[in-house]
């Protein structure tokens, strides 16, 4: 119940933030130089043609009217029509969010699990060679630009070793996967399509690896530091002074206590990972949300930019909300 109240309160707090994002984006795209209409008209179009096109997209209205229309649309779940493709933004977005979300969720989940495992391992061997090695490797991974790392992984994993499928698309089209959510693994499960699942998984390996390598270090550092803090805490000393066995210590006294700070960091990492998918998507021909948003921005496809920023922001704040709830579940001291 308390959790629900907390979530409710936080959701209320999100309203001004999202509204701010909406207003800011709306103004920003319109302040930016660049004409959204010209690129759909062809070179021979006259000013009258341009005006007609503007009318079609309601861009001839006053800013206030445009904004109200946009808001009214948002309330009914209508994000407008893409200027570039003429399709409803909602439909396009639905196809794009799934894959990117799947990629990031899988990558961050793996990174978090790996960080927990390695972090605890490392902390229990603090200041020994293994600990140092793990940390330095994580730092090196964290220092490589993702797009470069992705390319190197493709070169090695696809071109040289031939272990992974060609970096084009997210699933082999021959598997006839019916898109439902857009997240290929999920769709494959929903439609009980075994080959599609295998193919989607194979396509996921390298991009996930790229992201995991990129974000592991901060998570690892956090887990290790917290674990060390716990290991050196009086509470842990008390437990081991009372002769509790190793397994009990690890499970009951170290693990959960060491993870309390992880959720908010994981949320932050999730946020940056979503941001950096735009690069990874490019390298792996992923055609996800980031590429879609970037293209929308480059062509000043107002509805697309507005929708994508809003969704980015929504993801971001929701992930933080989830992190706070998880934090509260992990740490009984947190009052929510």
């Amino acid at each position: 119940m308390r959790v629900l109240r907390f979530v409710g309160r936080r959701l209320l707090q999100l309203v001004p933030v999202l509204l701010g994002v909406v207003v800011l984006t709306f103004l920003l795209v319109r302040v930016l130089p660049g004409d959204p209409i010209r690129s759909i008209l062809g070179p021979n179009a006259t000013e009258a043609d341009a005006q007609a096109a503007r009318e079609r997209f309601g861009l001839d209205q006053s800013l206030g009217k445009q904004f109200l229309d946009y808001l009214r649309g948002l309330v009914t779940g209508d994000f407008g029509t893409s200027i570039q493709s003429g399709a409803p933004v909602r439909d396009e977005m639905a196809l794009r969010i799934g894959p990117t979300f799947e990629l990031v969720v899988i990558a961050v989940t793996i990174a978090v699990l790996l960080a927990i495992w390695l972090g605890l391992w490392s902390a229990r061997r603090a200041d020994r060679a293994g600990d140092h090695t793990v940390r330095v490797f994580a730092l090196v991974g964290n220092s490589i630009p993702e797009f470069w790392l992705g390319l190197v992984l493709i070169l090695v994993g696809y071109a040289v070793l031939g272990w992974f499928p060609a970096p084009s698309g997210r699933v082999d089209p021959d598997t006839d996967l019916t898109p439902i959510t857009g997240a290929d693994l999920v769709d494959a499960i929903l439609t009980a399509n075994g080959p599609a699942f295998a193919s989607a998984a194979a396509h996921l390996v390298l991009p996930v690896l790229t992201l995991v390598i990129g974000v592991l270090a901060p998570l690892l550092r956090s887990v290790r530091a917290s674990a060390l803090e716990v290991l050196r805490s009086e509470a842990y000393a008390a437990a081991s002074a009372h002769g509790l066995p190793e397994r009990t210590l690890l499970r009951g006294y170290l693990r959960r206590a060491a993870l309390v700070r992880l959720p908010s960091l994981a949320a932050l990492v999730f946020g940056t990972a979503i941001g950096s998918t735009v690069l990874v998507e490019y390298v792996f021909s992923w055609q996800g949300f980031g590429q879609w948003a970037l293209r929308g921005l480059l062509y000043r496809d107002y509805p697309v930019v507005q929708a994508s920023v809003l969704v980015f922001a929504l993801c971001y704040v929701l992930v933080f909300l989830v992190a706070d709830v998880v934090h509260a579940m992990l740490d009984p001291r947190v009052r929510i």
């Binding site: 009086e234 002074a241 009372h242 740490d331």
Partner: protein, 688 residues
Amino acid sequence: MLDISDLSVVIRRPGRQVAALSNVSFAVAPGEVVGLVGESGGGKSMVARAIVGMLPPGSRASGRVGFDGADVLRMDDAALAAHRGRGAAICFQNPRGALSPTRTAGRQLIDRLVTHQQMGAEQAATAAKDLFAAVGIRNPGQRLRAYPHELSGGMAQRVMISLATGCAPGLLIADEPTTGLDVTLSREILRQFRHAADTDGRGVLLISHDLASIAEVCDRVVVLYAGTVVESGPAAKVLRDPAHPYTRALLRSVPDVGGGKVTATAGGMPLLTDPPHDCPFAPRCAHATGECRTTRPPVKAMADGWSLACYHPQHDPLLCLPAGAGEGGFPAGAPESASPVGRAKRADEVVLRADESASPVSRAKRADEVVLRVEDAHVVYRSRFGSGGHHALRGVSLELSKGETLGVVGESGCGKSTLAKLIMGLVEPTQGTVAVGGKDVRRLSRAERTRAQMVFQDPIGSLSPRRTIKDSIAEPLRAAKVSTTQRAQRVERALDRMELDRSILDRLPHELSGGQAQRIGIARALVGEPDLIVFDEPTSALDVTVQAQILDVIADVANDAGHGSVFISHDLATVRGFADRVVVLYLGRVVEEGPVGEVFDHPRHPYTRALLGSAPRLGGARTADVTLVKDLDEADAAAGCALAARCPFVTDACRSQEQTLQPYGESRAACWRVPEIPALIGKSATHD
């Protein structure tokens, strides 16, 4: 059972080395309670750690920690695992910190039961409930599911004890189990240990910095100083007729509710890098001779297992012990030593000199100059979300004149600090008024604010970590727009008064000891020559001997006729020394008020009686004529008398009627049953 002989521990870290223990020897037998006392850093915890084989990294230990025939220092991992918990189990110093924050108290206890008593899960759960009940936790079933942060300090300490006893150890080690607890509670907790020794036949090692508080329960006492055992022997002997000058100094530093005189011993405990080759106490010792400074006195065994390491054992009786101690009850009439005139300082042990200007005459109350007037003040701490809040003060009225010192006492959480903040204008009264120097504190200008100054409980924490000492002291002058040169002069004058070296001016707070930092805090309060100084538990974070030194300084400052003082403490004894009047707070209300001698010697309110009764008294039994039931945090104060939930004399009238202060003799108390209470006490005594 436990037999430590010649244990030395040196901790080596790059760049520093600490000789934490040097040739420590003592033993604990089953069923025996041994007290290990000494000041902070004396090595008490180190002994405890050595017993469970958990010395800090980088330690080198020599000697022997014999436990049931085996040597803990030489145990292999398997033997250690069996020894820890089952052999010896520690109750840690800071119970909140020593309980794992993310596991319920019950799970933690069950873990121990399962490990050491080979219980199954269900059996452990019932056993856990019983154990909780055994240490005095009410509603154990519910508390088993509580997380440590949901427990009060006293409750956490009880849980800690249950965890240690849950291991069913041969030896129970309690590291400072009562530090930070209320007097009423400490007594109760200490009884738990005596109980463990008496009923279960466990050996108990009770560690404390405070001799007085453990005096009552120990069979034998070991006194540690700078990692060496200076004196050990039967509790009665060591506490009543200590022979080692350090033990004596320690005992004299403890304020006593009976009005026993506090005598400060100059200096602080040295931090040894190597095992000492001389007497470590020699630099502070009044009786030290050349011999003490060159060779380390050997441990001399005396009668009844009494032994001490001193070339010059003292045998004259401790001056500060009040005459009536030991017979029970309070001495009639204020002892002579409580009056300022009687507080003569012994030249050999006293560092602080009184300010020349302070004379007894100037302490006379000048009613015409009221510096502080609090009228019916209420403070409610609003919670950020939701409704309600914490009603920390509920209608407090005070008045203070120039030259007067007002003592404020009460348990932890009763609103003492809130009162201090209220006076300083740091919290807004939700109702009522506070006037300093005749002006509402909320309407004071920056310069006028400095007319009231405060000395804080946390001496180091109240100094800005990144500003030099000079800066900190000068802060009030800066607000009062004093010129730079004048500022420097006045800062130095204040510093001189605190007997501190000028070299300290350019240091940062973390480079100071607690005692030094508190002197700086007092200097800061004094520098602007304020009309009012509020001391909020200025000594409770300090070591015993340092506490005595600071109390001396404060007594001196309070004597000053230039300003009024409010002295806040949870410990009645510290107030007795220099307050003119005393106010007893309970749950945000004044329950008793009156001249200091009157309140202490003829307490009227049941709460005051209970408080005085549970205060630790050296060398004598306490007069527990009133015992409160339940912990403070379990008491609710909805309507009626605040104490109703805990008062043994409660009636329905108490529960329904708000109590107001009524004059009884020279003092006033908020209890309608005051006249009947002596009789009621007699009745309950006969029932026992």
